[in-house]
Amino acid sequence: MVEIRWHGRGGQGAKTAALLFADAALAVGKYVQAFPEYGPERMGAPVQSFNRIDDKPILMHCPVKSPSVVVVLDPTLMASINVTAGLGKEGTLIINTGLDAAEIKKSVKFDGKIFTVDASRISEETIGRKIPNTPMLAALVKVTGMLDFDSMLEDTQKKLAKKFAHRPEVIEGNIQSMKRAAQEVKSA
């Protein structure tokens, strides 16, 4: 079973990213869980959401404490929150940042794999707003190889088409942002 923790701020789509990832994993036959941590529900407040993905039914309904992957939607959170809590040396940390890899290595006390991608810039250029969740979802799928990237993209497109039926430009922007994030994500 793979456990994932998403860190973001209220409004950045950490919950939606976890839901989209679960939906995409379901589409390829996995058992899934996606759930947010419900605390202060306001724009800008630190929020977390979680995924569990497995090949067999997932029975537990307790918090994710030792994730194998952590995705950080907002790097400014790292000044106040230990985003690597419970993440073992075998784990993977994926950060939305424009900073180069070496700088990140210096500021994060983590020996596992670190990947970076400037998802905020990508989303601004493709969607027109800083909504880093879908490009970070793409980066997650790309670097972990947990799901087939093209199937995930196809499934997400379907889900977005349902949600934004009256705003097709949002769908196209998201898909472009995901393709670019998959190309631009790099190892630190």
Binding site: A18, L19, A22, D23, L26, K30, Y31, V32, Q33, A34, F35, P36, Y38, P57, I58, L59, M60, H61, C62, P63, K65
Partner: protein, 391 residues
Amino acid sequence: MQKIILAKTGNEAMALAMKQVNPDVVAAYPITPATEIVQIFSQYVADGEVKTEFVAVESEHSAMSACIGSCAAGARTMTGTSSQGLALMYEMIYIAAGLRLPIVMADVNRALSAPINIHCDHSDSMGCRDAGWVHIFSENAQEAYDSMIQAVRIAEHKDVRLPVMVTTDGFIISHGMERIDTLPDAEVQNFIGKYDPLMHLLDVKKPFTIGAINLTDYYFEHRRAMVDAQNNSLKVIKEVGAEFGKKFDTGYGLIEKYQLDDAEVAIVALGSTCGTAKVVIDQLRAKGVKAGLLKIRVFRPFPTEEIAKALENIKTVAVLDRSDSVGGFGGPVFTEIRSALYGSAKRPQIAGFVYGLGGREIDMEQIEGLFMDLKAGKVKADSVSYLGVRE
């Protein structure tokens, strides 16, 4: 029959079940964390996907009042609420049961104020445990979906005719997305059948009075008849659960035993904690610890005999209560089970643990610790303690 596999939150699953039941009337008022059930259902109404008359009321008291009116008029009626909303319904909750109206309600279990809190515990529905409703708890979104469908059959059964409440754990299940197997609309419709009330107010050929005053002359007899209806529902719940299993592969009973038959130590729990406990039990069994779980699915009617039998060979049992009976000796599940065991010749040592109030998390380490304490004889029999609280 091909099932449709979806990723759904508990709330989405319950709203979907309501859509497929396609009731005549839904009267509801939104409240966290049950809001989505009503919100999603009202979208189905707006989109013309159901033929339901949706009554947007101004309070939960009005919601249950409208449900009582519509159900008495012969309409298949459903609603959903949580916590303070259920508390505000309280007056009408007793009336719904007393008038023997087969209303089906989704209740998302949430703590009661004060202090104000939006997270899970079972205080809200436990507060209604003596009202005459059938209470069905759900471990996960799948069970919530399946039980909402079965609830219609149970409530409307001629030997029961009582309202049924199906609950999920607030946020943990209501807002957690999981994989669930859903049924085609037609299968749900075939399973629940057409509602054919024994009598209803709009039947002008058979006029009758409903809600008449009963003083010392008949009140007691009417309440006594409700006891029979509750007792009858034990059999009906099992029959409906078995038929559901026969048709759709997953059967349901009053309780579920997990690795229990040869267990030395066991816990008893309701709701989502049962899933976590199962994972812990698998891990402990791999280490040679004979641990087991008794999950109570149906809390009203209380399956006294089945539970006493299921626990008779266990050495030590911890009963987990996600609500407290303040000033009583233990939470409601502990009290019921201890009472159920009193008449057994063989019975386990038993201790009560109140946990998880106001959404306080329970994790696998805590459950494992509890099992190990039971095994090591560190749990004092006939004691009540509080798990995971700062004291």
